[in-house]
């Protein structure tokens, strides 16, 4: 019997019991739709987290002073004074895997312009900081190396700070504002960046030369931390190793010998890549869990098909007997029921894919969850449900094919 005849027979059998066929396919529909929706949600949140991390900076590596023990008491890392300007200069001159580096010292305080004022943080940095944090100056210019050398009292402000200090929309560039008692001339305004994924306002900041902050505000010789950018994401690890080696040498930390263990690092290095892979491992886990739950519902749907096919074979025993007596071979009967099962599962699959895509967009527009529908998730769930049809249709079809025509034709 050729395929088109088999197809017609299967279609007729499916259409003869519309409600039953629909309910059977419903298992597959729900299974496929949930696989697609769950993977879309999982992938969507992964992508949104990755995007947020990428927004923080480009291939960023952060070097913090390490927690140290003083007489058995572990100290607050921010009180550590182990990162010095000399470290920054050594890294800047010697590191081959980084393209930008900036020290960072911060202080908080009140910014005043006439009778307007705001509380904000001042970051003492080098011009490289813009590249590292992916900031751009929209109006005016960034301060330069000359300003750093002379510890100039200049600054670049974020949009939030500018709006508080100049509520009437005047151009802040060229104006002088005060931080405490120290006057700063605004040379530029940063482009708006908005809130980050943690809800922090990324425009509420002021950048100034690190020399100015260190000497004129804090009067300290150590650094809060050092930020740098690896040349590419791939060399982040190599850059980290390089930085570790340079800092250990500068800090005169002893390597392990036969008798003594190596000195602990007195600094911590965190890379954006590390953060990103940590975050995506969480969302990958989420995706796997969601996918597994959805996959189980697909299997349940397949069992539904198997069950109905068994009922169908029993119910149509006489028909099978008749078909055999007029010349259907076992393989013809097998194919007939297999195609029927596949038809149910593939139809369910198609409806499920459409429903899954629809549900993903519904989740996106109602709950505002980020979604991303991966083409492979559609292809995969479609392939899986076809396989489900073959797998769960096989045993009932085999049972039908092995019926004895003599008994089947007289089956009551």
């Amino acid at each position: 019997m050729n395929f088109s005849n088999l197809f017609k027979i299967a279609l007729r059998a499916v259409m003869a019991n519309k409600m039953r066929s629909f309910l059977t396919a419903l298992g597959i529909i729900i299974g496929v739709a949930s696989v697609i929706t769950m993977l879309a949600i999982g992938q969507g949140s992964k992508r949104s987290i990755q995007a947020n991390i990428a927004e923080m900076g480009s291939n960023m590596i952060m070097i913090h002073p390490g927690a140290d023990m003083r007489g058995g008491v572990r100290q607050d890392p921010s009180a550590m004074q182990t990162l010095k300007l000399a470290d920054y200069e050594a890294l800047r001159n010697e590191c081959t895997y980084i393209k930008a580096i900036s020290p960072n010292v911060t202080s908080s305080g009140q910014w005043v312009n006439g009778n307007n004022n705001t509380q904000s943080t001042i970051y003492g940095v080098s011009p490289d900081y813009l590249e590292i944090r992916q900031l751009t100056v929209e109006d005016g210019v960034m301060f330069g190396d000359a300003d750093i050398k002379s510890s100039a009292k200049v600054c670049v402000v974020g949009v939030t700070v500018a709006n508080y200090l100049f509520p009437n929309g005047e151009d802040p560039v060229g104006k002088v504002v005060r931080f405490g008692s120290i006057p700063f001339r605004i040379v530029g305004v940063l482009k708006k960046k908005g809130y980050n994924s943690m809800g922090m306002d990324q425009d509420d900041l002021v950048l100034a030369p690190y020399t100015t902050v260190m000497k004129r505000i804090l009067a300290q010789t150590w650094l809060g931390n050092i930020n740098c950018s690896a040349i590419t994401e791939d060399v982040t690890e190599k850059a980290t190793e390089e930085i570790t080696a340079i800092l250990r040498r500068n800090h005169k930390l002893k390597d392990a010998t036969d008798t003594t263990p190596a000195d602990d690092d007195d600094f911590n290095i965190r890379s954006q890549e590390e953060l990103s892979s940590m975050m995506s491992s969480t969302t990958d886990m989420l995706t796997i869990l969601l996918g597994a739950v959805a996959g189980i519902s697909l299997i349940v749907g397949g069992i539904g098909i198997m069950n109905i096919m068994y009922v169908s074979v029993t119910e149509r025993t006489r028909e099978i007997g008749l078909r055999m007596s007029v010349g259907a071979r076992g393989i013809d009967i097998l194919n007939q029921f297999l195609i029927e099962a596949i038809m149910l599962s593939v139809t369910g699959g198609i409806i499920g894919v459409l429903l899954g895509i629809g549900a993903s967009f519904a989740v996106n527009s109602i709950a505002h969850w980020p979604i991303f529908i991966q083409p492979w998730s559609i292809v995969m769930s479609f392939a899986v449900c076809t396989l489900t049809g073959v797998f769960f249709g096989w045993y009932p079809a085999k049972k039908a094919a092995l019926l004895d025509p003599i008994e089947a034709i007289r089956y009551e």
Partner: protein, 249 residues
């Protein structure tokens, strides 16, 4: 009597069934030949082995020993699917309970055997089905569904289905068993018409009256042939039908 081609030849056919620890000998060595164009009734009470014999003749089962030649082909050593193909080409089955596909039109029911024949295209299939239905007098009911027809009409569809592949032999199993007297005679008239056209018909029944309308009668008892007689005085089913009192409805 002229010697026609031998369509069916049984040579000492035996069939044993193992039921639990016992062996039941359903057929204990049956031999006969049936020639082309014969209308043979096979009679016997229940338990006589006639169903087993029918299954043998219909290639649904194979003999334990002995040989069965259908149209010159030895059946005993054939595989299941070879026998399926043989049934498809050589045999037309008619069952007591019609066994039509439910919710399916007459034409589609009759087309069924041809669906399993790769050599017949869909156009030829429909044409042959329509011709077979016309031959049994159902030219007006080609597209009626099986559940919209009377028992007699359904049995005619079944007969058309048995004719459509132009079989070497038509096997009827109690084909009038579910029908009232009048309809039974109508069906017998149809069988006699097919016989007159030269078809080979084997009609298995427990009803001795039907033997009057066939050309030969084989009687079975306990798995053996106890009589094999040629009917020299074939009665006309059409006359018997005309002689029936008119029904009231």
């Amino acid at each position: 009597m002229q010697e026609n081609k031998v369509v069916i030849e049984l040579q000492n056919v035996k069939r044993d069934f193992v039921v639990g620890e016992e062996t039941v000998h359903a057929l204990k060595g049956v031999s006969f030949k049936i020639h082309e164009g014969e209308f043979v009734t096979i009679m016997g009470k229940s338990g006589s082995g006639k169903s087993t014999l029918l299954n043998q003749l219909g290639c649904l089962d194979t003999p334990t020993s002995g040989e069965y030649l259908l149209d010159g082909v030895a059946v005993r050593t054939m595989s299941k699917s070879q026998r399926a193909v043989l049934r498809n080409r050589k045999i037309g089955f008619i069952f007591q309970s019609y066994n039509l596909l439910p919710k399916t039109t007459s034409v589609e029911n009759v087309e069924l055997p041809l669906m399993y024949n790769r050599n017949v295209g869909s156009k030829e299939r429909t044409e042959r089905a329509i011709r077979a239905l016309e031959a049994v007098g159902l030219g007006e009911r080609l597209y009626h569904k099986s559940n919209q027809m009377s028992g007699g009409q359904m049995q005619r569809v079944a007969i058309a289905r048995a004719l459509v592949n132009d079989p070497a032999v038509i096997l009827a199993d109690e084909a009038t068993g579910n029908l009232d007297t009048r309809t039974s005679f109508e069906i017998l008239v149809l069988f006699q018409k097919l016989h007159a056209e030269g078809r080979t018909i084997i009609f298995v029944t427990h009803n001795p009256d039907i033997a009057h309308y066939s050309s030969r009668n084989i009687e079975l008892r306990d798995g053996k042939v106890i009589s094999d007689t040629t009917n020299l005085n074939i009665q006309s089913a059409a006359e018997a039908l005309a002689a029936l009192p008119k029904s009231d409805d």
